[in-house]
């Protein structure tokens, strides 16, 4: 859709400009790698988000394996103290900012417009900018490994330990800059998606007919819009302190180090829901599909999601129960934290009741979704145990917490994402992932995950603190619960987990080499994204669907048999898709590719590095940024006819006009 449209040329007598507003010839109709680099198509961007996130998942995973290797035995020697500190800092940072958020972004980008019956997101070039800024941010973050050492202050980067004196390498500088860039990417992305959801739904799709996945993504974007500015402020303050001698967190100048903690966790707690809600959304699509029943209590699931988001802003200090807040604050935050368990519990019960009375079909996607329900429950219950502030002062910063949030984030979030992979793979790539390999993938991940993180409950309750580069035999104890045995079990488990993930990658390769195309409606699915070809055409829908029901696609296929209250199939999914194709709209117009998003991102990256490497680099970065910003401003979002090469037989290759 065009953001700004070029006015109609006034009179035919004048000479039309030969290039669009003086900018470079646009990359329309490109092929090969350029088709990807300069694209503004939400589907291609979504796939690239997924690839980038998967690469960082592997990097973060290798970091995790190194950590577990170091801790497998007492007094580990695989990593030095310094390397270990960098490793756990970057593991968390990578997994949160470069895997979990982009992977959710991948799903959101690809499926959100499809689920609401739109042709693209509201601001396609900004969408591309989000992706490339994220890539640049990730590169800046990880470049630190090769440029003097990565950040070593933990992903929470508590002041004053993150200050220039206590962390003298450039690692924290790279971290601060990388996260600021990635933060801009997320912020742009979230505004983009909010506008898309609010303005571009297909006719008839009221908010309460929106798929739950879209709903959860919408909640997440609001969380991001309100929480990212806080961390950005904190990061800017830290940057000013480290690079320009400010003293925001310098205690000798009268600063209070708790300021950072408050800023970080006001962002950091909503961030937890940013990570988990997309997966909740995914399984709220998968469970109804494979239970052949609509989601139980749709409005309750939606509102519990929204209220988790809202209450999530009022519980940040439960990360700080040991920080020395007064007893009254501790009590208030403790109770607020318990309160957040209620909507979360509602979700779990709703998923179970969705399956109640259903017709359960155990595909790999369904198994992962079930895995989420069970494993998240374990993590949620251990979460309740540390909402009790006095208990939390015993548990916090021990492996018990590590166990808790890995059950929530790995058992919850990652399982949800994998469920999404298996469910939507045929939609995205037109081929079915192998179910047999999928089964291996699932079971190895379940076993590995429980072997890795289950023993951590014991380790934590036996008093092993987190973030220690070694543990010592002297504090390990004896008997069944000795730290030595369970640390070893956890380390072995982590490798089983890694093999499980490897099976997924193998499955991807095997599937890619397979010729056989997936059916158009392999799962007998329920939502609009299945009302088009697999993979969808560039313009998504041949005809913008008109929505009458929640689960529109399902209701086009089935009608209720009023006598038996069961559903009777009245149409086949692929027939419906073909019917749409036959009734295709004419004159579908799409936003055009652009050089500027990727170039602008590079400029921002160079500008950021300039803060570390000095003014000349900043000047270069600024020049690139300014130049590409100008190129962007002068380029309408939809290409002109003259932007296309004249076709050989004289006529236009494409019809151009803004999309509605």
């Amino acid at each position: 859709m065009a953001i700004i449209e070029r006015p109609e040329v006034a009179t035919p007598a004048v000479v039309t400009p030969q290039q669009t507003l003086g900018a470079v010839k646009r990359p329309v109709d490109t092929k090969g790698w350029r088709e990807w680099l300069f694209t503004v198509d939400h589907k291609k961007i979504g796939i690239m988000y997924g690839v980038v996130a998967m690469v960082f998942f592997i990097i973060g995973g290798v970091e995790a394996l190194l950590i577990r290797l170091q801790l497998a035995m007492p007094d580990g020697r695989i990593l030095s103290a310094d390397q270990y500190n960098q490793m756990f800092t970057m593991h968390a940072t990578t997994m949160v900012f470069l895997f979990a958020m982009p992977m959710a972004g991948a799903f959101a980008n690809y499926f959100l417009p499809l689920q609401i019956g739109a042709r693209d997101v509201a601001f396609p070039r900004i969408n591309a900018l989000s992706l490339w800024l994220l890539v640049v941010g990730g590169l800046v973050l990880n470049a630190s490994w090769f440029l003097g050492g990565a950040a070593d202050g933990g992903w929470f980067m508590y002041a004053p330990n993150s200050g220039p004196i206590f962390s003298p390498s450039h690692g924290v500088d790279f971290w601060v800059l990388g996260l600021q860039i990635a933060g801009v990417a997320s912020l742009l992305g979230s505004i983009n998606l909010i506008v898309t959801v609010l303005n571009m739904r297909a006719p008839g799709m009221s908010l309460m007919k929106m798929p739950v996945f879209t709903w959860m993504i919408l909640v997440v974007q609001f969380l991001l819009v309100f929480s990212l500015p806080v961390i950005t402020v904190a990061l800017v303050l830290l940057m000013l302190q480290r690079s320009y001698g400010a003293t925001f967190f310098d205690v000798s100048q009268g600063a209070d180090p708790l300021l950072w903690q408050h800023l970080f966790w006001i962002f950091g707690h909503p961030e937890v829901y940013v990570l988990i809600l997309p997966s909740f959304g995914i399984i709220s699509e998968v469970l109804p599909t494979f239970a052949r029943k609509p989601l139980f209590g749709y409005p309750f699931v939606v509102f519990s999601g929204a209220s988790i988001g809202l209450v999530g802003f009022g519980v940040w200090a439960h990360h700080m129960f040991a920080s020395g807040l007064g007893p009254v604050s501790v009590a208030v935050f403790s109770v607020a934290t318990m309160a957040i368990a209620i909507p979360t519990g509602v979700k779990i019960f709703n998923w179970l009741l969705t399956m109640w009375g259903g017709k359960l079909w155990y595909t790999t996607a369904m198994k992962f979704a079930i895995g989420l329900v069970v494993l998240f429950t374990v993590g949620g219950l251990s979460g309740v145990t540390h909402s009790i502030a006095p208990s939390d002062t015993q548990q916090t910063d021990t492996y018990y917490i590590v166990a808790h949030f890995h059950y929530v984030l790995f058992g919850g979030m990652v399982f949800g994402l994998f469920s999404g992979f298996y469910y939507w793979w045929p939609k995205v790539f037109g081929k079915m992932l192998n179910e047999k390999l999928g089964s291996w993938n699932f079971w190895l991940m379940v076993i590995g995950m429980n072997m890795t993180f289950g023993p951590m409950h014991i380790l934590g309750l036996q008093g092993q603190p987190r973030r220690m580069y070694v543990w010592t035999e002297a504090r390990a104890g004896e008997g069944f619960f000795n730290l030595g045995f369970w640390n070893l079990v956890a380390s072995i488990g982590s490798f089983i987990l890694a093999v499980g993930v490897l099976f997924f990658l193998i499955n991807v390769v095997v599937t890619a080499r397979k010729k056989e195309q997936a059916p158009l409606d392999p799962w007998d699915a329920r939502t609009l994204e299945w009302l088009t070809t697999s993979p969808p055409k560039a313009h998504n829908f041949d005809r913008i669907p008109v929505v009458h029901h929640l689960d529109e696609f399902f209701h086009r296929k089935y009608e209720e048999d009023t006598a038996t209250h069961t559903m009777k199939k009245v149409a086949e999914g692929d027939a419906l898709v073909r019917a749409e194709e036959d009734a295709a709209d004419a004159h579908i117009h799409l936003p055009s590719p652009s050089y500027w998003p990727i170039l602008l991102s590079v400029g921002v990256g160079v500008l950021g590095l300039g803060i570390i490497y000095g003014i000349p680099m900043m000047v270069i970065g600024f020049a690139i940024t300014l130049f590409s910003a100008y190129g962007w401003v002068l380029e309408p979002s939809v290409a002109e006819e003259i932007d296309f090469e004249p076709s050989e037989n004289g006529g236009n290759t494409k019809e151009i006009a803004p999309l509605g």
């Binding site: 006034a10 009179t11 401003v633």
Partner: protein, 374 residues
């Protein structure tokens, strides 16, 4: 295919690069000259980039546009702005820095506007389209630039007001202003009919109120205690006079309120004409407090006496400079009224000597609190 302009800059870029490299080899790579030449190269490269990648680099398009462009150039007031900028800049060099900065801003702004207008007029023969091009190009600079200036002016005016009024008034004004902004925002947001003229009216009224208040406050100057602070630096250690009587330099408008309670190690009271201390966490009078070495430590002073009192820390003696003359070291709070409190922060790097311990005293009141630094 290239225009003369882009050819010129391309040449300049190459020449600058070659000379810079030669200069590095032949003269001195870390010399100012090298920086200048590399700077020239960078600048020329950017301009070349702009002219090459924009339509200006393409001679044919320009030729076509010029050929087709039969309209006379539109009237423009940018030349006169540009000239005014030049004059102001020169005047500023001779007189005042602020005039110079304003002049420079006008000069650059006018120059950019002029350039873009000229450039846009050659964009095509379609004047409407040219208008559109100009708005796009200028808007990308104008709106952010003007918004930044406007925000700066608003912040400056508002800060003048807040610095003039008393602390209590400032709170009220802030609440009123915030409420006005909220109400206006809600009205504009919920009543679409209000947009347009009514919005303009609200904004104009707001700006006028702020401008008048800001100017009046600016002329009035800052409130008394701030002016004193700016003038005298009363919190500097050299100004501290720790006697019983009020000090002319030090005892201005002590605020007598304390916010950093979490950092307080002990409380010293003047109670019933005596100095007593209590450690935080143990409500029991003690006559000795222990302070960790090399750690900034805060002591709360609470005056329960009718008279104004101050707390003085006597921290031993030290040599003055390189001489052998010994001088007392210490610090004190400002005079504190009845039932009010102040904090004294000390950082003591050396342990205390049992023979002559550090003490806390209150001039005019009997008793002392020993300070032990282990």
């Amino acid at each position: 295919m290239f225009t003369p302009g882009s050819k010129y800059f391309l040449g300049l870029t190459g020449l600058a690069l070659v000379s810079a490299v030669l200069y590095c080899f032949l003269v001195n790579p870390s010399d100012l000259g090298a920086y200048a030449l590399f700077g020239l190269f960078l600048n020329a490269a950017v301009i070349t980039g702009f002219s090459f990648f924009t339509r200006d680099g393409d001679a044919e398009t320009v030729a076509q546009a010029v050929e087709a462009n039969t309209d006379a150039p539109a009237p423009s007031f940018w030349p006169i702005v540009f000239a005014l900028g030049g004059a102001l800049t020169l005047l500023g060099i001779a007189t005042n820095e602020i005039v110079f900065v304003i002049g420079l801003a006008v000069l650059v702004g006018g120059g950019v506007e002029w350039t873009i207008q000229d450039w846009a007029e050659r964009a095509s023969s379609d004047s409407e389209f040219n208008q559109f091009v100009r708005h796009r190009a200028v808007g990308a600079l104008d709106y952010p630039g003007l918004a930044a200036v406007a925000l700066g002016v608003i912040a400056f005016l508002f800060s003048r007001v807040m610095l003039t009024v008393s602390k209590d008034q400032a709170t009220i004004i802030f609440m009123v202003a915030a409420t006005c902004v909220l109400v206006a925002g809600v009205l504009i947001g919920t009543k679409p009919a209000l947009r347009g003229k009514a919005t303009t009216l609200i904004v104009v009224v707001g700006v006028l109120v702020l401008a008048v208040a800001g100017v009046v406050s600016g002329i009035n100057g800052e409130r008394h205690e701030l002016a004193v602070v700016a003038e005298e630096k009363p919190y500097a250690a050299s100004h501290r006079e720790c006697g019983e009587e009020a000090s002319e330099h030090y005892d201005h408008h002590a605020n007598n309120t304390v916010s950093l309670r979490s950092a307080v190690t002990a409380t010293v009271f003047v109670r019933d004409g005596k100095v007593v201390a209590q450690l935080v966490g143990m409500p029991k009078d003690v006559d000795t407090i222990t302070i960790p070495r090399s750690n900034a430590t805060s002591i709360l002073f609470r005056n329960l006496d009718k008279e104004d009192r101050r707390l003085v820390a006597n921290l031993g003696e030290a040599k003055v400079g390189t001489t052998d003359v010994m001088e007392k070291v210490g610090t004190c709070t400002q005079l504190t009224g009845e039932n009010q409190e102040q904090v004294l922060t000390v950082k003591i790097p050396k342990p205390s000597n049992p023979e002559s311990p550090y003490t806390l005293t209150v001039p005019g009141v009997e008793g002392e609190i020993k300070v032990v630094v282990p």
